[in-house]
């Protein structure tokens, strides 16, 4: 009996240790070359078992802005474009990854669109020319978007992993850059040239005129 208990305990310890090796938590802060945090940077671990979720992702239009400004989705995902404003929007993309246009009327549900190919989709509105949004389609099952402080947490297999990073201020919007990350907390400095940071546009209901 004692033998069984000992074996079971050893098995438990082994499983726990193995789990710790399999899924390590890494905390990243993405910054520019000067160390200033980059909010809304997309980070992902290429590969993995990419399985898009059944329910569509949502790129809302609220207060004459895209919400969120940057949306990351795995390949094969569907994205809905609801219009939460009382005015019409005319959303479009000329990005090679996904070209489309949809007129979204007041209270329109917005039909979900399929995004089968990895890459960056830049969104605009033909009526409100200050509206700008991005859908970043990634070939990965682990991905996230940095918060207002440029921080994000990911689970990685093993001690280190190859990480891809993208940001809307990249001069070459279709380029991504690769970094190797290790478990624990670390700072990722992007190497690419960035466009100047622009303060938020302060548009309201009377600015469409």
């Amino acid at each position: 009996m004692n033998n069984w208990i000992a074996r079971f305990t050893i098995a438990l310890v082994f499983c726990y240790t193995a789990q710790a090796v399999v899924a390590a938590e890494i905390s990243l802060t993405v910054t520019d070359a000067d160390g200033s945090p980059l909010p809304s940077a997309v980070v992902w671990l290429p590969g993995g078992n990419v399985t898009p979720r059944a329910t569509p992702y949502v790129m809302n239009q609220r207060n004459r802005q895209f919400e969120p400004g940057v949306l990351a989705v795995p390949t094969g995902s569907r994205v809905a474009f609801p219009n939460s404003d009382s005015v019409m929007h005319h959303v479009y993309s000329f990005s090679p990854v996904k070209r489309f246009e949809i007129k979204l009327y007041k209270d329109s549900p917005g039909e979900p669109l399929l995004f089968p190919t990895a890459g960056v989709v830049q969104l605009g509105c033909n009526i409100h020319d200050w509206m700008l949004g991005y859908i970043v389609v990634v070939d990965a099952d682990t991905f996230a978007v940095t918060d207002a402080e440029g921080k994000v947490s990911l689970s990685v297999d093993g001690d280190s992993a190859d990480l891809s990073v993208w940001h809307a201020r990249f001069k070459n919007l279709s380029a991504t850059e690769q970094h190797t990350v290790r478990s624990g907390a670390q700072v990722i400095k992007v190497a690419q040239a960035l466009t100047p940071a622009v303060d938020p546009y302060q548009a309201d209901e009377f600015d469409g005129y």
Binding site: M88, H90, F94, S108, N126, D129, P196, V198, D204
Partner: protein, 427 residues
Amino acid sequence: MATKLTYRWRWLDSCVCLNSRRSIGFFLLLLACLQVQASSLQVKGQLELRGTLSDTPEPWLYSGSGLHRYSDQHEGLSVGSSVLQAQYDFLSAWSLHGVAHINDDVDTKLGITEAYLKYKPLSANGYQWQVKTGGFYPALSLENPDIAWLSPYLYSNSAINSWVGEELRVFGGEVAFSRPGRRFHSPHSFTAVGAIFKANDPAGSLLAWRGFAMHDRQTVYNESIAFADNPAFDDPRLSRQANEVLPFSEVDGRFGYYIGGHWDYLKRSQLRVYYYDNNGDPRALNYKTGQYAWDTKFFSAAWLLKLSQRTRVIAQFMDGSTAMGPSLGVNNDYQASYVLLSHTLGKHRFSARYDRFEVQDKDHWSFDPNNSNGDSFAVAWRWNLSRHWQVGTEVMVTDSYVENRELWWEQANQQQTQWQLNARYRF
């Protein structure tokens, strides 16, 4: 008298001016029909009930020399600014726009204030352009961004935009080319605008024979605005002038133009600069309608600054001239400006505005004095009770000197006070 020719734009005659109660019936019927609407048809509008309390003199609309829309003889309940705005989208880049107003001053009528076709293609390179053709306002005002060219701030427009609403409308084509800043990672956005147009030849008449006024009454197409019984019109030199103005009519057969520039900084600061010239031939007269072509031009600069998300300042300045008659017997310069402050607090909006305006008589016709000037102060409060309902009030005090009041043995100087209480349902 060189060019005499002419004709009025009759294209909307059959549909735009429906008088009396029929117009309200038509308006409601139209609304009912539009409840069954295709998704590509967007309809917005409002019905307003307005109570007013005012004083002398009588408004110009009732042959008086007052500068407010209402008076002690014409106050009480009215439909205020009741409007309907429709937009029909088709294909990718095309849309049809129409705006109708009900005015119940003098007589009740439903009329069209704007009707145009817009082409705005998608752009892959970030630059945007659009073309408008039909009848519309030049977008020179930052005071009137609400539906149907209404103001979300005060109920009565500034002196500048009261005049724009009653005498300025073009029938032609406009091209606008934009560089939206955000597409180019810049806080600055720029738009260049150019237009050529017909009609709008008599614009300036009201400034000469009434001066600037303070109101929210927008003239509808093919509408005539009456002048007071001006004794100057009895003089042989003005005897061919009708006692009314058809501001959007064509008289001289010539094209007018305007150019404009918009500069936005993060939408927090917005500047619009326009130069307008209707290129009117002052010698041209339509004998049938009694309308001269006026050579009317002006420069306008409007600026909006958001001090915060809740507080904004809007200012506008206009400087122009107008002249009519073979010998430029009526020849005036005019200037007007205002500063408007608006602040929102929850569902409440508080606004205040100070206006100054002046018309200077430069001609040698002493029997027809056109000098006028004045200033006006107005405050308003609007309360959004729900998505559909809003109530609000405004009080406005205007001091004015209008020289030709003396032709009626009135005091040239007048002070007017006007109170408004409004309830509106928006859909």
